[in-house]
Amino acid sequence: MKKRGLALLLTASMALTLLAGCGGGTTETQAPETQAPAATEAGTEAPAETEAPAETAAPAAGGSVYYLNFKPEADQAWQDLAKTYTEQTGVQVKVVTAASGTYSDTLTAEMAKSEAPTIYNIGNAQGLSDWNDYALDLTGTSIYDERINDDYVLFDETGAPKALGYCYESFGIIVNKALLSEAGYTLDDIKDFASLKAVADDIHARASELGFDAFSAPGLDGSSSWRFSGHLANVPLFYEFRDDGVTSQPATITGKYLDQFRNIWDLYITDTAANPTSLSTSTGDESEAEFGNGQAVFYQNGDWEFANLTGNFSMDPDDLAMIPIYCGVDGEEKAGLNSGTENCWAINSQASAENIQASIDFLYWVVTSEEGTTMLAEQFSGIPFKHAIDSNNVFGADAKAYASAGNYTLSWAFNYTPNVDSWRATVVTALTAYSADPTDANWEAVVEAFVDGWAYEYNVQNG
């Protein structure tokens, strides 16, 4: 009768494989994403090897470029641009795009290979400290000299420029001007927090009569919470760092402007149609649709939303504008938008000399040639290079208009956030609890998550 036990064991082992199949759910859902790089790899490598050298005279150096792209939405544009470059110069350019949210995993894996990326993305100071050994000092390179200023350059501890921002983005409060005038206001009525609050409170009070509310839902689901734990939090962080003259990652923060943060957050959760107790499940898509379908006048997000709002939701670009996030700080009438970047090119210093030179040449071509600058203008809103072409993104234009009117730009202070995902998760937990029950005690927990969380994560990050 031992056979029966054996049969059972066999059943169980089959069972295990089945369960393993369930576990495979994770990889299955990611499959379409991970397939993308594989497909592009095959797509770009094969023709490059067979066609390119035959048509044009091969360059003397003979290096090749491997660009590990950070922005999935720009993948196709990069592939096309790489093909054009190969046709013109004969230099092989391989573009691989990491799936959304997996860049650091992909980069780690690719860097371990013998044919490692020659150009890759570094997002912030933390990324630079992880990859400093692999980042070329850009001083004196042709591409570095094309930058307009140092605002979007990442410097390492010795002050050497290691990563060069190739596009910058701006965020603020997106306004539907058509609805705003329907409610009897214009953009000129909003100059600071008090006037923003007056307008929003009034619209919220008349919401049922107007058919729309002031703010779209401030969802705290994972697909939306970064707008607040990341972007909105930039406002108090920026002012604090400006006051204290902080220019590198601080070990601790004081939370000096958290009262102002509370002002604006209270406004978001009060003057909205959303139920503040169910924000934990309210998604970014819901909030976007609310604004896109004309149910809300204000929507906090960035210039990358332009394509979606004018495309998917067919909004008229003339109805759209982006205003600064006002929260009650002195002098904020002169505020501009929050502009910065997480998109910086770094060149792999451990690549061969030919490949490094080929990579620099390629990037130089991208920011100076007609094809390259056109592509950059189409894909991104702000391009910090001398030969940049203007893009049609109205939010990007707003950012420039504020800057040229002499308003100060809120730089991306959140790029200093230590162990950023973890810090934000703690802030989101506290914000969610506060929104459901807005008491002073619950706000204390937000402050604790902000300030103590920063100190804690700083130690973790450097642990």
């Binding site: 169980a12 759910g25 990859w131 998760a425 937990t429 506290a430 103590d452």
Partner: protein, 305 residues
């Protein structure tokens, strides 16, 4: 039945002519699988253990640091918290899953209409992947909790019991199938003998049925134990470790289990890759020791039929 006469046909499937070359050449035949096993399992496993003693960003640039990573792993309050979380989750889910699966299997082996239909229905949740289940159940729980003006990640209790319910729902059907197989293997003559001897239903269950289905119990507890410890997808999708709370200057992800903690540790930054690897080695040892202990314990109670 007429007994077959033993033949000595050398060309039969078990004949010498067939067996000898297999005996001689078996290394050649197992070679492909063996090579795959080495590449896909043994080598990464050994490298993983080696890396737990190193600082590394990519496996290429590993530098030896001795036991520093293990010290770091154990001084992490989040790891200790995840450990106690996992232990209590394992105890609760092993009990719920096995008790309920056993009862359902018992019910469905009685003569009743639609037993097959019920078996199929109870088994079905098992066919859905963990991540999908996690998201679906988080919506279900949130929809229910919304009625009470609260939400799933509001506190650790909701998250913990939510995970228990989810995993029970998913795995009960599976364990039920194994228990049903066990019930069907209980010899009819034993049950008949018990009946003739005047055993009550309870006596039949505890003295005849349970000893006979001990192999099923062994397997089911083994599976639920290892599944609970290795729980990852459902944990990630249901709460992702939230609520994340600052507590006396240290941070705790209240509903984070061990596997998710290791994953999150690795993703902090390059300085933590080694510590995450060390945690993973500790985790492996823990699961291996527990599983072997449990197997030995329940095996000893199995009876030979």
């Amino acid at each position: 039945m007429k007994k077959k006469k033993k033949t000595h046909d050398a060309a039969a499937v078990n004949g010498l002519l067939v067996r000898r070359p297999i005996r001689r050449w078996f290394p050649l035949f197992i070679l492909p699988t063996f090579v795959c096993f080495i590449i896909g399992f043994v080598w990464p496993f050994i490298q993983g253990i080696y890396l737990s003693f190193c600082n590394f960003n990519t496996p290429k640039d590993a530098s030896w640091v001795g036991f520093a990573n293990y010290v770091k792993a154990f001084s992490d309050t989040g790891f200790i918290h995840a450990f106690t979380n996992t232990a209590s989750f394992a105890v609760v889910s092993i009990l719920t899953i096995n008790v309920i699966a056993f009862l359902i299997a018992y019910a469905l082996t009685q003569k009743m209409a639609g037993a097959n239909l019920f078996r199929t229905v109870f088994f079905m949740p098992n066919l859905i992947g963990g991540v999908v289940l996690g998201y679906i159940w988080s919506m279900i729980f949130d929809a229910i909790l919304k009625g009470y003006n609260t939400y799933l990640t509001a506190n650790a209790t909701y998250g913990f019991w939510g995970l228990v319910i989810l995993v029970a729902w998913q795995q009960i059907g599976y364990m039920m199938i194994i228990y049903i197989a066990g019930f069907q293997a209980v010899p009819g003559d034993m049950l008949e003998a018990a009946k003739i001897d005047g055993a009550t239903g309870w006596q039949t269950l505890t003295r005849v049925i349970i000893p006979n289905i001990m192999p099923s119990i062994t397997i089911c507890t083994f599976l639920t134990l290892t599944n609970s410890f290795k729980m990852f997808d459902q944990n990630l999708a249901l709460t992702g470790g939230a609520p994340n709370i600052m507590f006396n200057g240290a941070k705790v992800n209240m509903t984070e289990l061990l596997a998710l903690n290791i994953y999150n540790t690795y993703n902090i930054n390059a300085k933590w890759h080694g510590a995450a690897q060390a945690k993973a080695v500790v985790f492996f040892l823990l699961v291996a020791v527990l599983a072997i202990a449990q197997l030995t314990a329940t095996r000893s109670k199995e009876v030979q039929q």
